[in-house]
């Protein structure tokens, strides 16, 4: 998955587990950037009576580096607080919820938004903003879309925010990929698969019909850029921002074990989850270091550069698909560091490698989602992003419909090596390899406006009743 359950410790703490991060120039408001961080992954929609929610004891943050030092110049902090209306019922709602202040809605969640500047100075932008409820079902919430729309808040400071349940729009054939690196469209060419299959298979979207909890913020572009400029040229280093999200918990928690004393949460915030580029911790970092990676800031990522330079998956592909990745195998034998991957994931792509494009942030190696904010949204987006000649897509930021799994597979398979080595000829398969899924394999439609992610799947209809 992108980052769902990507490390041993955080997989046991879903409330703080970041699963996807998106950063793109807003298609309907191209003078703004939209940043979305998903948490609490893999939610089954029928989860009453205790539906999913953010952690009141978790500090959620979205960070923006605008000067390339891999440290935040702007951070948005989100803190949540849950309130119970009726302590005599076991129910989430005691009747239809038709508004965010409905008397029938028993367990509500609110949040504050704090903006922290490059000097660490916090400014409280809003307090007690209501989240929408979880999508219980049509009897409880007759018009979920309208209710969720009411939970989009425009702040006086210029940002738009939303925090609440959404359908997970990430698509991945998880069952195949982690069954010895199988890709169903190529399963009959797999080292083991060729003994089991005599035909290509059809991919399965393992995350379909699951929900997540999303934190979304839409920010005017000049507020995230280095010099606060409203207009910049694509070649201007100040056009590029680096984005990551993190979740932190207090260092100490004391469970009192009795109702007379509240549990205690004290001490500095300690980071337990981090996400920049999709799949970085999941596929690049060895399992023994994944929890460590989650605890560190991007400015420490130099220590993980060796795993980018010689990715384990790059060595596995020629073994798993015999005779398909011969050129990659030859490249691996040279033991030359993968300068293409180091650039894409840790520094950004410098000017001069791709026509009219750069998203470089300098020499400091850090896993950040890098977005050149001067590149306007594509009129006809290509899910393969920059590899599909669409400069507005991953790895230039990340849009919701980008096929980041296939893009990453192609890059690791050698498709991006010619960026740094004109003599290298990628295997034919490097330009063809894909997981076999698109955004159409998500059974919910993206919205045309903020927060863009689809209406969450409701509990009554998912899983569906048998047809009578």
């Amino acid at each position: 998955m992108s980052s769902h359950r990507e490390a041993p410790e955080i997989s046991k703490d879903p409330v703080a587990d970041s699963s996807d991060l998106y950063a793109f120039v807003s298609p309907d408001h191209p003078d703004t950037v939209t940043l979305i961080a998903n948490y609490v992954p893999l939610q089954a929609s029928a989860s009453g009576p205790n539906f999913f929610e953010f952690g009141d004891d978790v500090l959620y943050e979205i960070h923006i580096d605008s000067n390339g030092d891999a440290r935040p110049d702007l951070t948005y902090q989100f803190r949540f607080r849950t309130e119970l209306r009726n302590d005599k019922t076991f129910l989430y709602n005691t009747g239809p919820i038709e508004s965010l202040d409905s008397e029938n809605w028993n367990r509500r969640q609110f949040y504050s938004v704090t903006r922290v500047d490059m000097h660490g100075k916090p400014t409280l932008l809003a307090d007690k903003l209501p989240c929408p409820p979880c999508n219980v079902g049509p009897l409880s919430i007759p018009d979920y879309a309208a209710l969720a729309e009411d939970a989009v808040h425009k702040l006086k400071s210029g940002e738009k925010v939303f925090a609440g349940q959404r359908a997970d729009a990430f698509f991945v054939d998880l069952g195949a990929i982690f069954d010895l690196g199988t890709l169903r469209p190529f399963q009959d060419k797999h080292l083991v698969g060729q003994k089991l299959f005599d035909h290509a298979g059809k991919a399965v979207n393992a995350t379909d019909k699951t929900n997540v909890h999303s934190i979304a913020v839409q920010v005017p572009l000049h507020m995230v850029r280095r010099d606060g400029k409203k207009k910049v040229r694509g070649r201007d280093p100040g056009a590029v921002i680096g984005v990551w999200t993190s979740a932190s918990r207090r260092q100490v928690q004391v469970r009192q074990g009795d109702k007379n004393h509240d549990d205690v949460y004290v001490g500095p915030q300690t980071q337990v989850s981090r996400l920049g580029n999709p799949l970085f911790n999941e596929v690049i970092v060895p399992m023994a270091q994944k929890d460590l990676w989650n605890s560190l800031p991007p400015s420490e990522d130099k220590r993980f550069a060796e795993f980018v330079a010689t990715p384990e998956l790059g060595a596995l592909l020629p073994v798993l698909y015999p005779g398909v990745f011969d050129n990659l195998a030859a490249l691996n034998k040279t033991k030359a560091p993968r300068a293409d991957l180091l650039a894409i994931l840790l520094t950004g792509i410098p000017d001069g490698l791709i026509d009219e494009f750069q998203n470089n942030t300098g020499k400091i190696q850090a896993d950040m989602l890098r977005l050149n904010t001067a590149i306007p949204p594509a009129k006809e987006p290509n899910a393969f992003g920059v590899l599909g000649a669409d400069l507005a897509g991953f790895p230039n930021g990340r849009r919701i419909a980008d096929d980041v799994v296939s893009i990453s597979l192609r890059a690791i398979a050698g498709a991006t090596v010619p960026l740094v080595d004109a003599d290298f000829e990628p295997d034919d398969a490097a330009a063809l390899v894909e997981q076999g899924l698109t955004i159409k394999n998500v059974s919910a439609d993206l919205l045309g406006e903020f927060p863009y992610l689809p209406t969450p799947f409701d509990g009554f209809n998912n899983p569906p009743a048998e047809k009578e």
């Binding site: 902090q77 607080r81 004393h261 205690v264 915030q269």
Partner: protein, 79 residues
């Protein structure tokens, strides 16, 4: 520290962490810097050196007091 109310304490022998529970408030949000009535947790990180961590609000303060560490360990052994 004297203004705060430490209720219980516990420690483990040797290098390790332990927690002293304190009655107090639940989750603290932004802007919390007030002292009185706030939760305070003391951890004896290194009994031999007498190194303590005090957790309060969003802060951790470290100090050394071998005598206090010895007293606490003695109290723990007494049960």
């Amino acid at each position: 520290m004297s203004r705060r109310r430490v209720l219980t304490a516990a420690a483990t022998v040797g290098v390790g962490a332990s927690v002293a529970g304190v009655a107090g408030l639940s989750l603290a949000g932004e802007g919390e810097n007030k002292d009185d009535g706030q939760a305070l947790v003391i951890s004896l990180r290194d009994a031999r050196k007498g190194t303590f961590d005090i957790f309060s609000g969003e802060q951790r303060v470290t100090f050394n007091d071998r005598k206090l560490a010895a007293h606490l360990l003695k109290a723990v052994r007494r049960g």
